[in-house]
């Protein structure tokens, strides 16, 4: 399946783009996505981030589906 991934802040700097499509096997989890992204972008391993699925922070065991909007969110800095 093709997944749309959004990147923000220092994460977008590490990936050098704001969004892209990543292909993963159906039934993959957040953890498998992170593994794939860490291999693609070595800098990601040193950065701290949360993953939001459909605008809610999710844990690593969550199952992904092709319609989900996935975002990698670095630490917040509002205010």
């Amino acid at each position: 399946m093709e997944l749309k991934i959004l990147y923000f802040g220092m994460i977008a700097e590490a990936t050098n783009c704001n969004e892209e499509e990543i292909s993963l096997q159906s039934g993959s989890t957040v953890e498998q996505l992170i593994h794939k992204l860490n291999n693609k972008y070595h800098k990601l391993k040193d950065l701290s981030f949360n993953i939001a699925i459909d605008k809610e922070i999710s844990d690593h065991s969550t199952l992904l589906n092709a319609n989900s909007e996935i975002a990698l969110l670095p630490p917040f800095a509002g205010g």
């Binding site: 917040f76 800095a77 509002g78 205010g79």
Partner: protein, 145 residues
């Protein structure tokens, strides 16, 4: 249920905008107490370089959802007459205002509690990112404590 409001403002929040917001409340005469928090960009010194501005970005749709949830939760917890939240996007120079939270109620005590709750929750839960730009145009990324 209160309707959704725009929170994001492009660039700094001006003192006249804040004054104007206070003035608008003069017709709401059940209010006896206002409380205001203003977040100002600090010229931090980081590794011998001075921050001259913060460039704010956000995961805007999620941030708007979160602001809405925070508003709802705040009205559930505290007996407020009204509240307003404004946050900057884009570049805000050191010394300028980037966050304006305004809560109002008939009596003062609840406004102190509500204001602290709102500001703390914004800092913790809203996906806003801050690029701290130094005087030499290099940058680092701000992280809330």
């Amino acid at each position: 249920m209160k309707k959704r409001k725009n929170v994001f403002v492009e660039g700094p929040i001006s003192p006249s905008f804040i004054a104007n917001s206070i003035e608008k409340h003069q017709t709401k005469t059940t209010i006896g107490a206002h409380n205001i928090f203003l977040g100002q960009v600090r010229a931090d010194e980081i590794e011998d370089k001075m921050v001259q501005a913060i460039d704010y970005t956000a995961y805007q749709e999620m941030a708007e959802n979160k602001f809405h949830e925070i508003r709802e939760a705040t009205f559930d917890k505290f007996d407020l007459t009204c509240m307003h939240i404004y946050h900057s996007l884009g570049k805000v120079k050191a010394g300028e205002i980037c966050l304006f939270v305004f809560v109002s109620a008939p009596h003062r005590k609840v406004t102190f509690q509500a204001l602290e709750y709102v500001v703390d929750t914004i800092k913790k839960e809203v996906p806003i990112f801050g690029k701290e730009i130094f005087e030499d145009e290099t940058h680092t990324w701000k992280v809330n404590n």
